[in-house]
């Protein structure tokens, strides 16, 4: 296996200098390694707390091949329970959402409370001699090794010793708040829409993390039909990309104005701006109000993404736009297939009319029918197909945009007085974030 090791070292070394071996987007061996070394310890998003608002509510979600029931028990506490009966291994819950106080295994009738405790075991005394043969009282469905949430986003880690979620997210929380904390009530989400694409999971994560360069070309049709005015090539490059610890994203540069004016420019109603000012820190407000940057797409390592855009969706003569937020999970199925889970998200305190129109904006732009998304997926499927062959093993894709040959940046990083967020930021087209994401990927893959 010495040859195999050095082949991996070669891949990781190339990835780190921004020259991406094309086969990493369709490679069975690397996918096995991702399962073993990356998804076995990363924090993976599974659900938002607003999907299970009431006691007894549950959704069933997977981390790769492992099914978990995400429940809210009778005390309001959230659990992530491995969906496998302790006796013969049936899935105790075969629905994907609902409300239940108990889950009863269809095979032999073992019953579990929605906090995981085993409460029913038919013929316990006759079959096992009671607790002497099988101690029922101490048994529970196996909980996820690690469970934590931030702003209602629920994450699982398969590693009981994973660093605390808040430490993992670290500085990226500053940016997560823009998407997930717009009032004290927080987000409510709908969905997800779920569909499978014949594309490697990393491609979407990289794209949302930092690919401002694709927007004017891939999404030219969106500008053509007047749905979203921002991605014109000349305008898109005035945005900045940022990277902070475990994630990064793209922004658009807004026209001059105060915080309130700029929030109104992207379509936030006055009452929402008031809520937002109550929960965003002064630094978070400065990023918009002083620096003039508005968040757009972002990714959090390894496979969670966000988008916030402000299209024109209503049939009216004026130029009114309005924002929408979407949460996105790139759930790996294999080296060349991904299940996309795409939620619509809106602040719970938003006015009903805003919620309705923001939902409309989401459907027109992103998700299974979204007009942005349609063209993205076409590219990613094509890329994945081509990456599976022998020639892709001889090709290094240049992902060095933004770097000169001696690794100096083409454009200097923004000073902190021009960009009030943590991490580092840079105006214009570059692939800093795609490289940062893949560097984290490389770090995980080399740790046995």
């Amino acid at each position: 296996m010495a040859g195999h090791r050095s082949a991996l070292e070669n891949v990781l070394e190339n990835v780190r200098r921004g020259m991406i071996p094309a086969h990493i987007y369709n490679d069975k061996e690397l996918f096995e390694l991702e399962k073993e070394r990356l998804f076995s310890r990363a924090w993976v998003f599974v659900a938002h707390e607003s999907e299970i608002p009431h006691d007894g509510d549950y959704v069933v979600r997977r981390v790769l091949d492992d099914s978990f029931i995400i429940t809210r028990d009778a005390k309001g506490e959230v659990h992530a329970l491995f969906n496998m009966c302790l006796h013969r291994g049936m899935q105790v819950c075969r629905a994907e959402m609902g409300n239940a106080s108990n889950f009863r295994c269809p095979y032999h009738g073992w019953t579990y409370r929605n906090d995981g405790r085993l409460t029913g075991l038919p013929f316990h005394r006759e079959a096992y001699g009671g607790d002497d043969g099988f101690r029922r009282s101490s048994q529970t469905l196996v909980p996820a090794p690690n469970l934590a949430s931030y702003n209602g986003l629920i994450f699982i880690s398969m590693d009981a010793g994973a660093q605390p979620l808040e430490d993992f997210l670290g500085d990226f929380r500053f940016y997560l708040d823009f998407y997930t904390k717009q009032s004290r009530g927080g987000l409510e989400v709908r969905g997800p829409q779920r569909w499978r694409i014949k594309a490697n999971w990393k491609i979407g994560a990289e794209n949302f993390a930092g690919d401002m360069y694709h927007t004017p070309h891939t999404h030219a049709s969106i500008v053509d039909i007047g749905l979203f005015r921002e991605p014109k090539a000349q305008k898109r490059k005035d945005g900045a990309t940022y990277w902070a610890q475990c994630g990064g994203g793209t922004t658009y540069k807004l026209p001059p104005g105060s915080f309130d004016e700029r929030m109104r420019y992207v379509g936030y109603p006055v009452e929402m701006i008031d809520y937002i000012k109550g929960v965003w820190t002064p630094e978070q407000q400065r990023l918009v109000g002083e620096d003039g940057f508005m968040i757009s797409a972002a990714s959090c390592f390894p496979n969670l993404s966000f988008v916030h855009n402000w299209p024109k969706v209503l049939d009216s003569a004026d130029d009114d736009v309005l924002p929408f937020i979407s949460i996105r999970l790139w759930q790996p199925i294999s080296e060349n297939e991904t299940e996309v889970c795409s939620w619509f998200a809106v602040d719970s305190a938003a006015p009903p009319e805003y919620k309705k129109n923001s939902y409309k904006a989401y459907l027109m732009c992103f998700g299974s029918t979204g007009m942005f998304e349609q063209d993205d997926v076409e590219n990613w499927v094509s890329l994945t197909n081509t990456a599976g062959g022998a020639m892709a093993r001889r090709l290094l894709l240049n992902s060095r945009m933004g770097l000169l040959s001696d690794n100096r940046p083409v454009v200097d990083r923004l000073p902190s007085e021009a960009f009030h967020g943590p991490g580092y930021a840079q105006v214009g087209y570059n692939e800093n974030n795609q490289r940062a994401l893949l560097r984290l990927w490389a770090e995980h893959l080399e740790l046995a």
Partner: protein, 182 residues
């Protein structure tokens, strides 16, 4: 907004297959299928009523007796004529890469039955649809199976589609996107 379920109130049993209204409704769906196969979307738009609601909920797996099998508040399509017209306008640009080259498509329509409504201006038409969509030469073709409940409205000498609810038969679509109409 009204759904096709609220718009048309079917009365009684399905119309006999030799009823003229059933024959007209059936022909409407078959003619529409040819327009969709050919991606002749401008012509298709003209067959839609101005107040159409075009809805395709997200299906979910729920326990028997849960009382729902669609994702609350979430759809794949939830369209009015304006948003449909934007989608059609996009296909007419030179930059809708997802359908350039175009898919090879066949909309199979079957199990059609027609119901009269309380008012004579409307018909409710149920149908089963299978969409076969092939792109390129590497990946397997994709299928979408669904049931549809349509409301047709008589508009001078022709029928127009006033409402459509598409009940897809998968909770996870096996199609890369829905850059198509069903």
């Amino acid at each position: 907004m009204t759904t096709s379920a609220e718009l048309g109130k079917p009365v009684g049993k399905p119309l006999p297959f030799n009823d003229t209204r059933h024959l007209q409704a059936h022909q409407f769906l078959v003619d529409e299928a040819y327009l969709l196969d050919a991606q002749d979307y401008e012509t298709w738009l003209d067959t839609l009523a101005d107040d159409i609601r075009y809805l395709m909920p997200v299906r979910v797996t729920t326990a028997l007796g849960a009382g729902f099998d669609t994702s609350p508040g979430m759809a794949h399509f939830d369209e009015d004529k304006y948003s449909l017209s934007r989608r059609v306008a996009r296909f007419a640009t030179e930059h809708a890469w997802t359908e350039d080259p175009p898919s090879r498509m066949r909309h199979f329509i079957t199990n059609v039955r027609t119901f009269a409504c309380e008012d004579e201006a409307h018909l409710v038409v149920e149908s089963a649809e299978l969409l076969f969509r092939s792109r390129g030469d590497v990946n397997e073709a994709a299928l979408v199976s669904c049931g549809r409940r349509d409301v047709l409205r008589s508009d001078r000498d022709q029928w127009k589609l006033a409402g459509r609810t598409i009940l897809v038969d998968e909770s996870v679509l096996r199609m890369q996107n829905l850059a198509v109409f069903l």
